[in-house]
Symmetry: C2
Subunit: 218 residues, 2 copies
């Protein structure tokens, strides 16, 4: 069953690969699953047809037969459960990898999203600069702990897994920042993820969408 995902017709990150369809594309590329993409305008995201699939009016979604999902974590877990190679087969290793999938989304990403929210919503406010520093400090604490957990291992939960797709995708949001560069093992971990052929195909595919859009605009 060839799945259909949704993505931005015009990604607000201008093809940097931060929109969450990139995470799903990466997982699908890792397992060798071809897929179709339905591109949606910002207006279409908020229309009833899309909200029936995604109540919060966001991307991505995932449809394959009677499976209909809209949370990136659930989509990637589903891909990992229905294809080989993204989760260990034995129970303890599988549970550990799923634990790190949740850690990427529930422990590492929220303070990064709060920093982005501060930069976006508070940038014109008198408190913008001070609150940015506070948000960065919270991220630094989490990254130091994550560095300790990764140690000198290549991947976060044994062999490469769905947890690395999510964790690297979260770290991409702060790629090149002082916060990440202060943790050279984490920066190298992210580079290791980005160097995977499946990631590069996923990145190129989402970038091509943006480049075609720019070319069409002349």
């Amino acid at each position: 069953m060839r799945p259909i995902i949704t993505a931005f017709a015009a990604s607000p990150d201008r093809g940097r690969g931060l929109a969450r369809d990139s995470r799903v594309r990466w997982a699908l590329e890792e397992v060798g699953q071809t897929y179709d993409v339905r591109y949606l305008s910002f207006a279409e995201l908020k229309e009833p047809a899309h909200r029936a699939l995604q109540p919060f009016g966001q991307i991505p979604t995932y449809e394959a037969g009677d499976i209909r999902l809209f949370e990136t974590g659930a989509i990637i877990l589903h891909i990992a459960e229905t294809h080989g190679g993204l989760l260990p087969q034995e129970a303890a290793g599988r549970a550990k990898a799923i634990n790190w999938m949740f850690a990427a989304l529930s422990t590492i990403e929220p303070p990064i999203l709060e920093l982005e929210s501060t930069r976006f919503n508070d940038r014109d406010k008198p408190w913008g600069a001070a609150r940015t520093v506070m948000a960065e400090d919270r991220i630094r604490t989490r990254l130091a702990d994550l560095d300790g957990a990764l140690g000198d291992a290549p991947w976060i939960a044994g062999a490469f897994s769905a947890a690395d797709i999510l964790m690297c995708s979260v770290l991409l949001r702060i790629k090149g920042s002082a916060m990440l560069e202060e943790q050279p093992r984490l920066a190298a971990y992210l580079a290791r993820g980005e160097s995977r052929p499946a990631y590069q195909r996923a990145f190129a595919d989402q970038l091509a969408v943006y480049q075609r859009l720019m070319a069409a605009k002349g």
Copy 2:
């Protein structure tokens, strides 16, 4: 295998049931699985012995044989996968319930946590009040969409499931707020969750810990 979880020796919420061990207790009560609890002081949370199990120095953790987990979402998914009653058996329904587990943690809880962070970190700052209003507005948007998704159904993904444990636990953070009361179907949904005997046992058990602590302090 009787699992061992960890919890605060002195919960910062004073027994209101918001610490995340309550979510795990609720899931264990729903499936009728007895468990042990190891209580940790704030100092013990940050010590190497605990960090070997929980790299971020938080609670809860879950140990059962060679299964060792620290993300609440992963713990509840593991309990649901190894016991009956918290996930549908057929593939589409199971995937949908897992999708809503992620939605609780990745879509609904982050703006609520950002509000709590604003109230805690920014309360003495000149921008505290203005930023609180901004954070509440973002929560209102998410709750309106969640209300649309729930509609008049009793539970978020068909029959009661692990998704309801997480979603109700997230909504508990804003119980009694104007934001939640403006959505009477969501307020009723939360009340439905709280009325479950398994939730009440879980709540009573965590409250008793706090009450014993207070009694011991005289």
